[in-house]
């Protein structure tokens, strides 16, 4: 249903209905939201949250723009592109402090660095910013073939290379006996936040709701990473029949060990935190490489309004 208006002063008994559109089928990478949902953090905050799953063609921004979802997920670079196209959306919180994307190779593949991929065929989502980024920054050319979101071709072809999430594909590959290696994109310098965005006018009209959502989500994420993930796992497995306990544990371990959610506190990173300086640096670099045609003002795609400077977790 259409995301409509809700009560002015929502309470747990009279909650505000909020729709969150995720970027893929239910998976541990969305764990914090499911945790918040299952443990009633949203409800406590006076929100009645529905999580819509995505997929390879989720078109979440269309849903946010047409007000069929309040919040959706994406990478900071994509949200900058939205701004460039005059889409009135702003990023309000981060889900991942570091980009979990990587390039998956067989362990014995001769390529050791990104430069070695020059001229190689890589299965990826055509048109994503990271492709142009590594091509221009390292002066290489990739032969991109469209990602089919499968792994069978990788398994069948010992020289196959494909885009992956460090939290995801390596698990299945290893389960099928393939030895794999991952070149993390964050090591190439391409390291955008993954975060949540919403319509600008919604953030302006109902900052209270956004604030409640951000706070409850951060609470959920913190609990998912630090506490017992079982409630989220149960909810995810119920929605996505392919989520086995083994896989979910693996993915969460990656999130924890690689500090993808919490970041490194010594660099001022924290759950949910968006650092304006990192945003500006990303934008400038994308602009310098000609990927962003103009230096879109920060305010057009991002607001720190809902995040505490110290990244403290909400009470």
């Amino acid at each position: 249903g259409k995301a409509g208006d809700g009560p002015a002063e929502p309470t747990p008994d009279n909650p505000f209905r909020v729709v969150l559109q995720t970027d893929w089928f239910a998976q541990p990478e969305h764990g914090g939201f499911y945790q918040a949902l299952e443990k009633g953090y949203y409800r406590e905050a006076g929100l009645d949250v529905e999580i819509l799953e995505g997929g390879p063609n989720a078109m979440s921004v269309q849903k946010v723009l047409s007000r069929r979802a309040h919040f959706a997920m994406n990478r900071a670079d994509t949200v900058m592109t939205f701004a460039k196209r005059d889409m009135p959306v702003v990023m309000v919180m981060a889900t991942l402090q570091h980009d979990p994307q990587g390039i998956l190779l067989h362990a014995d593949d001769p390529a050791q660095t990104v430069e070695d991929l020059d001229g190689r065929r890589v299965m990826a989502v055509p048109g994503l910013a990271w492709i142009a980024y590594v091509e221009r920054k390292y002066g290489i050319t990739l032969d991109i073939i469209p990602h089919d979101f499968g792994m069978d071709r990788f398994l069948a072809d010992p020289r196959f290379i494909q885009q992956c999430l460090v939290t995801n594909e390596p698990y299945y590959m290893e389960k099928h006996g393939a030895e794999v290696r991952v070149l993390r994109l964050s090591e190439t310098g391409f390291n955008p936040y993954h975060g949540i965005y919403c319509r600008k006018d919604f953030a302006e009209a109902r900052p209270d709701i956004v604030q409640r959502f951000v706070d409850a989500s951060i609470r959920g994420w913190t609990d998912f990473i630090e506490g017992d993930p079982a409630p989220a796992f149960a909810a995810i497995a119920a929605r996505n029949p392919k989520m086995t306990p083994g896989f979910m544990a693996y993915a969460r371990d990656r999130l924890v060990e690689d500090r993808l959610v919490t970041g490194f506190p010594e660099r001022g990173e924290a759950v949910g935190r968006l650092d304006p300086e990192r945003m500006r640096a990303l934008r400038d670099e994308l602009h310098a490489l000609g990927i962003l045609e103009e230096r879109t003002p920060l305010a057009s795609f991002f607001t720190g309004e809902f995040l505490r400077r110290d990244g403290e977790r909400p009470r």
């Binding site: 999580i51 997929g55 078109m59 849903k63 069929r68 398994l155 069948a156 029949p241 392919k242």
Partner: protein, 266 residues
């Protein structure tokens, strides 16, 4: 070609060919030593079907709903549009080119628009299934509405039949053999359309269909699962085609002058 056919043959030959195809399948698998994640063996597919029967049954049901809605809309609206095109010369000359034009818009492009206007889930899925099946119905029916023997049209004009009478009492019955060909094509496309819809515009919160399951199996390298879901797609499609053929038989058997009508169930 013209000796009477026993019904037993209609069971026997498909079974023989089916067995042959399955043998071929095993042969290919062994000749190239293909692993299950590239080409699962038939029994592995059946095993997947058994293991996943709960999920797949629900998914098949969801896909059936999407296909049925889309298919009905394609046949109904396609037929209606064909009537309009046949009835109004101006539409035929002026509008029909754009109908063909529309048909050539790739699904991936339409999906974006559809999702903007419709809710994700069943409405979008059905809309895409509809779009895929729509044109074959229109193209076939329009061809049929225009293949009426001259003499019969002249008869109607002599009797000063009103245009709508010419349409409904002459052109429509006369076009039925063509219409059913179009409906048969639409029936085979209905399930494909629904699956494509689920892939491009599916939302999964409301019980994803077989297309959704194929994506899920794909992202967990469950190739036998993909084949099992595919098998269900085919079976579902067969039910649609079967319904169309049954209807055709019932309506045309009495009068359609074709020696083979009786021998050609498909």
């Amino acid at each position: 070609m013209n000796f009477p056919v026993t019904y037993r043959e209609y069971i026997a030959w498909p079974l023989i060919f089916g067995a042959g195809l399955i043998a071929l399948w095993y042969a290919v698998k062994h000749a190239f030593a293909l692993p299950a994640y590239t080409l699962p063996a038939p029994h592995e597919v059946l095993a997947a079907l058994r293991d996943e029967r709960g999920v797949l049954a629900r998914a098949a049901f969801a896909t059936a709903k999407g296909s049925l809605t889309g298919f009905s809309a394609a046949v109904g609206l396609g037929f209606a549009l064909s009537l309009l095109i046949a009835a109004f010369r101006i539409l035929r000359i002026g509008l029909y080119p754009y109908v063909i034009f529309m048909q050539m818009v790739p699904i991936i492009a339409t999906a974006a628009i559809i999702v903007t206007w419709l809710d994700a889930g069943l409405p979008s899925v059905a809309a895409i299934a509809f779009l895929i099946g729509f044109f074959p119905v229109v193209a076939s029916t329009v061809a049929g509405l225009h293949s009426v023997p001259t003499k019969q049209v002249e008869l109607f004009r002599l009797y000063k039949a009103r245009p709508w009478q010419e349409l409904f009492l002459l052109r429509v019955p006369s076009s039925l053999p063509y219409f059913f060909t179009g409906a048969k094509i639409a029936a085979t496309l209905a399930v494909i359309g629904s699956v494509t819809g689920e892939i491009f515009a599916g939302s999964t919160a409301r019980g994803g269909g077989l297309g959704f399951m194929i994506l899920i199996y794909k992202s967990s390298v469950n190739t036998p699962g993909i084949f099992a879901a595919t098998l269900l797609c085919c079976i579902l499609g067969f039910l649609f085609v079967g319904t169309v053929l049954l209807l055709k038989r019932m309506l045309l058997r009495k009068w359609h002058d074709s020696l083979d009508t009786d021998f050609n169930p498909l």
